[in-house]
Assembly symmetry: C2
Homo-oligomer: 405 residues x 2
Amino acid sequence: KINSDRLWDSLMEMAKIGATAKGGCKRLALTDLDKQGRELYIKWAEEAGCTVSVDQVGNIFCVRPGEDMSLAPVGTGSHLDTQPSGGKFDGVFGVLSGLEVVRSLNDHGIKTKHPIEISVWTNEEGSRFAPAMMGSGVVSGRFSLQEILDSCDVDGLRLGDELQRIGFAGDVPVTGRQFHAFFETHIEQGPYLEAEDKQIGVVTGGQGQRWFNATLTGRESHAGTTPMHLRKDALLASTQLIQKVEEIAKAHPPGCGTVGFVNVMPNSRNTIPGKIEMSIDLRHPLDEELSAMDQELSDFVADLASQTGVAIELDPFWYYEPIHFDQACVEAVRNATAKLGYSHMDIIAGAGHDACYVSDFAPTGMIFTPCLDGISHNEIESTTQEECEAGCSVLLNAMLTMAEQ
Amino acid sequence: KINSDRLWDSLMEMAKIGATAKGGCKRLALTDLDKQGRELYIKWAEEAGCTVSVDQVGNIFCVRPGEDMSLAPVGTGSHLDTQPSGGKFDGVFGVLSGLEVVRSLNDHGIKTKHPIEISVWTNEEGSRFAPAMMGSGVVSGRFSLQEILDSCDVDGLRLGDELQRIGFAGDVPVTGRQFHAFFETHIEQGPYLEAEDKQIGVVTGGQGQRWFNATLTGRESHAGTTPMHLRKDALLASTQLIQKVEEIAKAHPPGCGTVGFVNVMPNSRNTIPGKIEMSIDLRHPLDEELSAMDQELSDFVADLASQTGVAIELDPFWYYEPIHFDQACVEAVRNATAKLGYSHMDIIAGAGHDACYVSDFAPTGMIFTPCLDGISHNEIESTTQEECEAGCSVLLNAMLTMAEQ
Ligand SMILES: NC(=O)NCCC(=O)O
Ligand SMILES: NC(=O)NCCC(=O)O
């Protein structure tokens, strides 16, 4: 039995850091607010008797000792960073569920064979620094430590410098981390559990993703004196690309395609835009479909450039193929759910999660809980104390099962 | 005879203030760089014997005395502010042509019956603060002083505060200004003079303009977990609006339609954009055509909102009808051009100019000179010393004609 009030109170307490007008959170990776969130969490973890360490990419690991410290820990965790218009639960729920597991084990004086380890992964959101899931990606070996430390935000601030600045450039090596098993609890962020009226999603895998930067270069000129047929309007060209991204996604259900970031230059009312920088995000649960979407995008970009006279660079800087979670971990989640009497369904994660990268090197599973109207990455993101209690209880049970094996 | 080298040297000297990498200028209205530009100009005007004053909206007036100081001056002038990706000549050429007229009159010891007055108008570009031609618009009575002082840039900085900050909140009243006649010299900023191989454009009027702010409000949600059919993507809706602006302009030749400014919120790669703020700029030389364009835009916006479920607010915050310059002033320009032997053609201004607002209260004309490839509002904006000499010589002659009447 976990303490549902305590979990909820901690969620609400954490949500004060970076609280926004509409009830959400803005706690971008490696900002002062992220630092505050991390520090509050470390205080809580230490109060719960954990040993805290920080690795070279700023991931935080809190260990509750097991009976046999030579064994790899059973891990859980998620992230504390948010979107610019983020909610109170995305990521935080997974971290504080881990903390609640430790607190509950303490309450009941339960000793586990394996140690229990809670991780807070650096920059999961991929909003301030792209791509996403950087901290877990470095530990899994998908990214080199150096490339991640050298990545910059839109203002040119370097991730490695920001880590130093907020005091989270740790010295624990990013290599060699092991988990006996790893579970991540997360709100679904989509509409399926709510539509099917299920309390728990047993996550069997995650869809694949391809992220791109597109740069369109036309020619700046005067909005009042440049005849329509003599323009090279980079913004106008970008509208076709944005619409194509939607068209591609719709042609490959249940794929998704999104342009979330657009930077217009010089962004002056009476100057025809000369340059556009934009993001493209394509996703699909099947790799062959995702490849087809990628191909359609590249073909279109070539055509668009030749039709409009606007030069287009397409940089496919991130790809990860659909992943499948470990059978035993998925089974442990399903069994815990059944044992506790929660309604449940199998589900594929639409978002990327740190667990997806952890599954590269450790048996991994995930537990989803519903969120109101399936809305996330929005200040109004909402879930109930009961829903959180269910997710955290399943986590506790699944971890306990694995911690004794 | 004007001193063409001196005019060119002054242009090149002024262009150092806010010089950009590609050879242009970024000297946005009421920034520190605008202050520097204004101070350099005032120094030059005082050295040329002018009396300098500044009005309540920051317009600068430099007077060279006439024989009869009870007469209204013959005026000229333009602006020193630029676009974010501006050139060296837009505006500055008109101001420094005025200065060169005074310097040349001094060289030749010419006394004029009417005083000569050079004006530098505040925020002509309308880029940092919208709309354009604010300084001349206040003096003409189109805008109230208070509404202009209260207008804010995208960072929320108030124009009145910025004027104070740079030391150009003067005390000369904005009301009651008179000109016996007014001429503005400006690069064409478009392709027609070059296409027709003419040295001088005799400007007979200016096309009308309608400026809008559009705000599109959809719903932020997650790029990976929100099925395509459940989205309210404000950016996607904006692409249709941007394309419609182009379509409307093309359906009303030689009208222009431009979206130059787009602000995407929250502008995060993996969040579906929830809100877009964008500008729309429609222009046409015929008022009835401009009204039809306006109507088509409003109709489309209503349809788009109901089709997409994205709420759209359209704020038509600026309109000025096509204007016609004073017959006698146009004639004075045409005669000066013919007398000096320059090839010329009549032309309508595609851009808004301070002269358009001055023509509300004084007989006004304009002189255009070619610019390379018709490109302006671009760092590569280019014109030659000979072209500038021609424009300034015509200005001197037209002003002299009027200054004796
Ligand atoms: N969980 C989550 O929102 N992750 C952000 C990375 C993604 O866009 O999938
Ligand atoms: N001359 C000029 O570029 N004016 C700016 C106002 C406009 O957009 O027409």
